[in-house]
Each structure stands twice: as structure tokens, then as C-alpha cells.
Amino acid sequence: MNRVAITGAGTINPLGHTVSTTLEAMREGRCGIGDLDIRDVDRLAIRIGGQVKGYDPDSRFNRQQQALYDRFTQFTLIAADEAIRQSGLEFGGHLAAQAGVVLGTSGGGLSTLDDNYRAVYEEGKNRVHPFIVPKLMNNAAASHVSMTYNLKGPSFTVATACASSNHAMGQAFNLIRSGMAKVIVTGGSESMLCFGGVKAWEGLRVMSKDACRPFSANRNGMVQGEGAGVFVFEDYEHARKRGADILAEIVGFSMTSDASDIVMPSQQGAARAISGALSDAGINAEQVGYINAHGTGTAANDKTECAAVASVFGRHADTVMISSTKSMHGHLIGGTGAVELLACLMALKDGIIAPTIGYEEPDPECALDVVPNEAREAKVDHVLSNAFAFGGLNAVLALKKG
């Protein structure tokens, strides 16, 4: 089986518009969550979110492009540009046919749907722009990345709610590992901070009105975010031969299904995914120094996730560091695992563990080292990234220092 390297990373998210600004914010434990600035916010009960601020679409895309690019596609293209530039790859000839795009998203062009439903239902219009379908479809972002960079190999979109990005990156990993592709541009994007998107989440009664405080005893729910994270996954030998800078190596992936409840998480399903990723990577729990948690800040997720980690890690659960960066950028739903993978790269490459901010009170049901409030320096060789979706679909990645 082929080894798989990460040779490029890009992002735009509530903490920054580039990888370096995002990692700086994570190191400093800055919070990107604030008051939502969206239409009809006064009709929402939940009025906070991790919005991408200071972003002007006109600075990146012309009018024709904006007619086709939903905000989730714009975020994807911005992150892909940074990642592919870093990798130094150009896709022509044979390599183009062996390079593809596998991206995660949950809502796809949800804000395009929201805008246009509003136009036909609320404003009574009988006509919408001709490009609504290609703009809102879930695979729009993957297709535009493929068109922009001439990626002609395996390309598709994965939608598994909050695990979409991790499932996508897991597919990318296995496509290269098995030899079906040399390079896959992968990660995920989400942009559902619009009236309808927030209103739907509000209905579930799991959202916090003030802050995302994962693992803290006084946590009171999740906070939505938006943005994208995109990576270049490359055949390790291919990367090595061309002298590419290897940011990290992907060494394992596992996915499981709880087959139990549409919203409540299962300790057993999560634990099987975590142990599956370890065995796929051929490592044991003691070798893992850091886990990027799913850590949504809901009562149910955080205690279930901690119990799952404790059951797999045994005594090592007391020493492994586990943090949730959702405390800073919010829950990016289908894009969340991708932005969170940046914290994994920072741990492996820079030896800095991103904190769980907003941590106020220990919870006996989450009695792990959650790296509260302040980043920490630590040398780690292996890390895990957890994602557990509504619908009971779990996806865990294992990474190794490059």
C-alpha cells in the first residue's frame, strides 16, 4: 500500500483567512464566535455564530463567478488556492488524470436555497436566476476545484453531516493508498449561517445562546460556524521524489456506524472508530499524544466522546491531550473536520497543542486533559482527529509527523 503525505493546506474560517492566521489564533486561544450579522437575525432565538468576518467576495471573484459560486464554493476555492500553491503542484498531462477532488459538505449551497426560497415564497417572485441549480448542488465546490486546477481523476462530494470532511479525507487517503490516485485535493466547506440554516438548528434545542464550552460542566450547547479547510493529499513517494515539504503523513482511517439513534451519540460506535483508526495505522494508543476532539459542547457529545476515548485508551487516557477547537471557530458542520485538521498539523509540525477555550468548570464525566484555555507546547508524533455525525456515522483519522 502507498503511503500518503499532506503537502498543502489552506483555509478560510472564523479565526482567519489563511492557515498562518488561523494557527496564530489557535495558539493564542482567540475566539472567532460573535454576534451573527445576517438578515432577519431579530427573528432568531440563537444570535451567535462563528462567521467569516472581513471577507469581501468582490475581492476574490468577478460577477460571473459569483453567479455560480455559493458562499461554500467561494470558501472552498479560497482554501484550495492556498493549499495547492503551497504544494507547488501543477496538474497537466498524466498527473491531471491521476489527481482528483474529494470534499465534504453537509448543506452545500444552503444559503442559495435560502435566498431563492425567500424570493419565490416570501417575495412572491415567479422567476429565479438561471444558475440556481448548479450553484446550490452539493458537488458544486468539488466540481469548481476540479475545473479551476484541471483535476481529472476521481472526484466527488461526501455528505455525512458533521463527519463529512473526515469521511471525505478518509476516502482521499484510501484512493491514494490503494493506487487509484496520486493526488487528491480534499477537506470540506460549509456555509449555513443564514436565517433558514440557523432556524433549523434552533429547533433542535441543542444550541448555546452564549458560548461553545466543550467539556466544561456548565456547557450548554453547540455554536455554528462557517468556512473551509482544504488539503493536498499526495502519494508519499511522489512527494518525496519532487522534494515537496511534507506537512504530515496520514497513516490511518476508520469509519463506523452506531446503527442506533438519529441524534444521540453512541460510546461504542465512537470507540470502534477510534480503535479502528489506531489499528489501521498500526499504532497503539500509547503512541498518540493528541486527539482533536469532536467536542461540540453539547451535554451528550462531550461525555460520550470522553467515555469512548477512555475505553480505548485505558490508563493512557489520563495522559493524552484532547482539545476541541470548536470553542474558537464553532461547529463548521460538514467543514469542521477539515479546519480541525489544522490543529493536528500544528501539533505535529510546530509542537503546539491548540486549547479548548471557554473552559470554566471541570465535569467528572469529561475527566481528561482537555488543554483548558491555553495552548501548550508538547512534542507529539501521532495524533487522531475525531468526527461523530448525527445519524451515528463516525470517522476518525490518524496522522503521523511528516
Binding site: 432565538a45 429547533g203 433542535l204 434545542r205 441543542v206 444550541m207 448555546s208 445562546k209 456547557r219 450548554n220 450547547g221 438519529i262 441524534v263 444521540m264 453539547t298 451535554a299 451528550a300
Partner: protein
């Protein structure tokens, strides 16, 4: 306790519990009736729609909610006070 509020709440709770309204007694808790967290959230939605009120409830901290759901009678009382506050 107005009978219309009480009857409507019994009807909503009975629907979630998949029981006849006559099978519901006022001192039962939702747990006694086999209503899980999703059933609870759906029942609260039905209450808001039926009485046109906002019910303060966060599933992450049900014990901290001002909305008392400890029994069917408690829910009726809580809804009556919300109606008085919000529509009085």
C-alpha cells in the same frame, strides 16, 4: 388549571407516548410515559405551536430550564404561566 390547556397538553403528551389521552395521569413524568429526548423536543414544539408561546428550553441543561417538565401537571402549570406572561 384551565381545562382547555390541560386537555391540549394531555393530547400532545399522549401523542408522543403513543397512548390514549385517557391513559395519561397528571402525576406521571415524561420518563414514566416512555418519552425520550427527541419526543420531549417535539412535544415542546407542539406546545409552542398550539398556544402560540415561546418555551425556554435547552436540551443541554434541562434541569436549569425555567420550564418545569417533572410531571404532566407541572407542564400544564408551566404552560399556563407562560401564557399569562406572554399573552396576558
Amino acid at each position: 388549571m384551565s381545562s382547555s390547556v390541560k386537555d391540549k397538553i394531555i393530547e400532545i403528551v399522549a401523542e408522543q407516548a403513543v397512548l390514549e389521552p385517557s391513559d395519561i395521569s397528571m402525576d406521571q413524568s415524561l420518563e414514566d410515559l416512555g418519552i425520550d429526548s427527541m419526543g420531549l423536543v417535539e412535544a415542546i414544539f407542539s406546545i409552542e405551536e398550539s398556544f402560540d408561546i415561546q418555551v425556554p428550553f435547552n436540551a443541554n441543561e434541562p434541569e436549569k430550564s425555567e420550564f418545569d417538565i417533572s410531571s404532566v401537571a407541572a407542564i400544564v402549570a408551566a404552560v399556563e404561566s407562560l401564557i399569562a406572561e406572554q399573552k396576558g
